[in-house]
Amino acid sequence: MGNHTISPRQFMYLVILFTVGSSILIIPTPTAAMAKQDAWLSVLLPVSAGTLIIWFLSTFGRQLENKTFVEAAIFAFGNWFGRLLSFFYLSFIFILGALVLRNIGDFMTTQIMPDTPLQFTHILFLLVVIFGARQGLEVIGRSSEIFIPWIFLLLFFLFFSISPQINLDNLQPILGGGIKPILSSSLTYLGTPLLEMVIFLMVFPYVKEKKKAGRAWILGALIGGLILTLVTLFSVLVMGSDLTALNAYPSYELAKKINLAGFLEGVEIIVAIIWMLTIFFKLVIIYFACSLGTANFLNMEDYRPLLLPTGMGMVVLSIVAYPDVAYFEAFLGETWFLYALTHGMLLPLIIWAGFMIKRAHTESS
C-alpha cells in the first residue's frame, strides 16, 4: 500500500505521542482521587508492567512479518471467523477514536472556547486528522519528527516554570494508604494508553528494521509513561492530591499557576498546545489504523477513500458516545479497563496463538 515505511526512530516518536496524547488529560484526576498523594506511583508502576505487554505485542508484530493485524486474523482464522475477530478489533479502534476526539472537544469547550459548538470543534480537528492520515504513514512519521522537539521543549518549560511552587509535603506520606489503592488506580493507566497499544500492530508492518522497531516501541512507551508520571507528580506536588482530584484537567490548572517573575503569566495555553499536538498524533494513528484495517477487512486496494466516510461516522459517534462528562468518567472507571483488556490483550493472544498454529501448519505441509 504505497511507499509508507517509517524508521524505528519515527515509530518511537509516534509511540511517545500516542502514550501521552489524551492520557495526559485523563490520567491525573482518577489516580489522584484513588491513590491520593501516591498518584504518581500508580502511573510509574504500570509503566514497568507495560513493558511486558509491549514486549509481547512487538514480538507478535515481528512474527507477523509484513502482515497487519487484520490480515493476520484473516490468515489465521479464515475468512469468516477471522473477519469477526477483526470486526471487534476495528470497532475497538473506532470507538477509541471517537472517545479521544471527544476528549479534546470536551477540553476545548470546557476550558478555552465554551461558546463554540462541540460538533464544529470536532469537525475541524478531524479534518486536519483526515488530511494527515491521507498523506500516509511516512508523512505522519516525518511530521512527528518536527513536533517532538517542540513538545519536549514545552514540557520542559512547564516543569521548569512551575517548579518554584513545588511543595514536597504534598507527596507525604508515601504509601500512606497502603499499596492497594495504588494497584487499583494503576488500572487506569493500564487501560488508557497501554492496552490501546495494540493499535500499533496495524502500523508495525510498515516500520523498517523490525528488531530495532521492537526496542523503539518499548522505549517509546517508557518515555511516554515517564512524561505522564512527571505530569501527575507535578500536579500533586504543586496542588496537592485533593485539588488534583477535584480538577477535571489538573495539568491545565497546573499551568495556570505559572507565574515567573511576575510577568510570565497566563501561559496555560502552552499546555493546551502540547495536548493538541499529542492528541492529534494519537488520533491520526488511530484513524490510520482504523481505515487501513477496514480496507484490509474489505480487501480494498487503498484505505484513502474510506477516510472521509469514516470521519463522518466518527464525528457522530463522538457526539452520541456519552451524554455528559459523568457518564464518561463512570465508563472510564468501570468498563474501559475490561474492554481494553479483552481487545488489547485477549484478542491479540488469541490471534497470536491461531497465527502460530496456522503458520506451523502451512510450513509443515
Partner: protein, 403 residues
C-alpha cells in the same frame, strides 16, 4: 512525477475550502477587547434577605491608560444581587454595558456576612468557572462593607485592586504579619481535615463616602485609605476570629512563610534593639509517644542587627549571643501566642498540625482524623527557634555611648 491534476490535489483544496467555509460560519467564542469589562476585584457578600451581593470592580481602560488627567474615575463598581453567585453574575449584564471578564482578576474580597456563614458556596463558582484563573488572592473585609472597600479610590496607584494586591504582597514580604492566600490554597485548606484556612483582612480607614469620589485622591494625604490588616482564622469554611499582629507573625514563623520582618526587644540597659530578619525556615515534625502525638516546630532565622537605641558593646561576642537568644525568645513567644490562641480560643488548626501527623504517622491519623478538632486543643507543641545574627550593618557600634 505525478500528473498536475492528480485527484490528490483536488481533495486537498476541497478540504481547505471546507475549512474556510466552516470557519467563516461563526466566531462563537470571540470577544473584542473593547467589549470586555476587565474585572480586577470582586466582592462577595450576603444581604439581609440572604441573597448574594456581588460587587465587581471594572477597569475603565481609557482612563487608566491615558496620560491626560480626567475627572472620571479609573475604575467602576457594579453591584448586583442574586439567589446564587452565578445568578448575580448574570444580573451584572443589566448594569454593566460590557461583558464582565474575570480572567485578569487580582483579588476577591469576602464580606463579613459570608465569612460568618461559610464561604464554600461562593468559592465553588470561583473555582469551577473556566474564566477564573487560580492565581487571584482572597481577602476578608474587616469592619467594612465590601462595596465600600471596593469603591474606595486609591492615590498613587490608579487601580485600587492592584494597590491592594501590591500592599498585600509587600506586607507579607516585609513585615510578615499577613499571608497572601490564593483561591486554590484556600480551597485546599478548607477541604482538608488537617489544616484550617487563614485569610488576610482589609481595613478601611476614614469615611466611606469620601473614598468613592475622585476628591479622595486629589489630596496629598488621602482621607480614606485601604490597608492590609492581620489574619483571620477559619474553622471549616467559617470565620471564627482574628489573629493579632504578633500572633500573625508567630503563625508565619511557624509555617516558615516569613520572608523579612523586624523583631524588637528591650536591651539590658534602657532602650531597645531591633533585629532585621532576612530569611526564615521552619519545619514541623510529629512524634508519637505512648499514643499521644507531639508536634515540634523548628524555626531557623537569619538576621542582621537593624537599629540599636541602647548602649551595648556590639564587638562583644557574648553580647551578640545574647541578642541571638533574646530574638529567639521574642519569636518563640509570638509563635506560642499564636498556638495558644488557636488552641484555646478558636480550636482551629491553622498550622496544619493535622497534616503533619498525617504525613509522619498515617496510621494514627486515620484513627483520629474525624475527631481531630478535639484532639487539636490538647495537642502538645514544642517550639525550637534558632536565630543567627550575621551582621551589624555599616556601624560597628551603637551611636549611643556610655559616656
Amino acid at each position: 512525477m505525478r500528473h498536475p491534476l492528480a485527484p490528490h490535489g483536488y481533495v486537498k483544496w476541497t478540504l481547505v475550502w471546507v475549512v474556510m467555509v466552516l470557519t467563516l460560519t461563526g466566531c462563537w467564542s470571540s470577544r473584542e477587547l473593547d467589549e470586555l469589562g476587565v474585572a480586577v476585584a470582586i466582592g462577595v457578600d450576603k444581604d439581609e434577605d440572604d441573597r448574594y451581593v456581588l460587587s465587581v470592580q471594572i477597569i475603565n481602560p481609557s482612563e487608566v491608560a491615558s496620560d491626560a488627567p480626567t475627572t472620571r474615575p479609573p475604575v467602576t463598581l457594579y453591584t448586583t444581587t442574586g439567589d446564587t453567585l452565578f445568578q448575580a453574575f448574570r444580573n451584572m449584564t443589566t448594569h454593566s454595558p460590557r461583558k464582565v471578564y474575570v480572567s485578569q482578576l487580582r483579588m476577591v474580597v469576602l464580606g463579613p456576612e459570608i465569612v460568618n456563614e461559610g464561604v464554600t458556596p461562593a468559592l465553588d463558582l470561583l473555582y469551577r468557572n473556566h474564566e477564573f484563573r487560580p492565581t487571584f488572592f482572597v481577602t476578608v473585609a474587616r469592619d467594612a462593607s465590601v462595596s465600600d472597600i471596593l469603591s474606595t479610590l486609591t492615590p498613587y496607584e490608579r487601580i485600587p485592586a492592584k494597590k491592594l494586591m501590591d500592599s498585600l504582597i509587600d506586607t507579607e514580604e516585609n513585615l510578615g504579619i499577613t499571608k497572601s492566600v490564593t483561591i486554590d490554597n484556600l480551597i485546599a485548606d478548607v477541604r482538608s481535615n488537617g489544616k484550617e484556612a487563614v485569610l488576610p483582612g482589609i481595613l478601611m480607614e476614614g469615611d466611606a463616602a469620601t473614598g468613592t469620589s475622585t476628591t479622595n485622591v486629589e489630596k496629598v494625604d488621602a482621607p480614606t485609605k485601604l490597608s492590609i490588616d492581620g489574619l483571620s482564622i477559619f474553622r471549616g469554611d467559617q470565620l471564627v476570629g482574628w489573629l493579632k499582629e504578633e500572633e500573625s507573625q508567630g503563625y508565619n514563623y511557624a509555617t516558615g512563610t516569613v520572608q523579612s520582618t523586624i523583631e524588637t526587644f528591650a536591651c539590658d540597659n534602657p532602650g531597645t534593639l531591633s533585629v532585621e530578619i532576612l530569611r526564615s525556615n521552619a519545619s514541623m515534625d510529629a512524634q508519637l509517644r505512648s499514643g499521644k502525638p507531639t508536634i515540634t516546630i523548628r524555626v531557623e532565622v537569619e538576621g542582621n542587627v537593624g537599629e540599636v537605641d541602647c548602649v551595648i558593646d556590639l564587638s562583644d561576642d557574648d553580647k551578640m549571643k545574647d541578642i541571638n537568644k533574646k530574638t529567639e525568645e521574642v519569636i518563640e513567644k509570638k509563635i506560642n501566642a499564636a498556638i495558644n490562641v488557636t488552641q484555646e480560643e478558636y480550636a482551629s488548626d491553622i498550622f496544619g498540625f493535622g497534616n503533619v501527623i498525617h504525613r509522619n504517622h498515617p496510621a494514627y491519623w486515620k484513627q483520629i482524623k474525624y475527631d481531630w478538632k478535639s484532639h487539636f486543643s490538647e495537642l502538645e507543641v514544642k517550639t525550637d527557634v534558632k536565630v543567627k545574627i550575621r551582621r551589624k550593618g555599616k556601624s560597628t557600634q551603637p551611636l549611643q555611648s556610655e559616656g
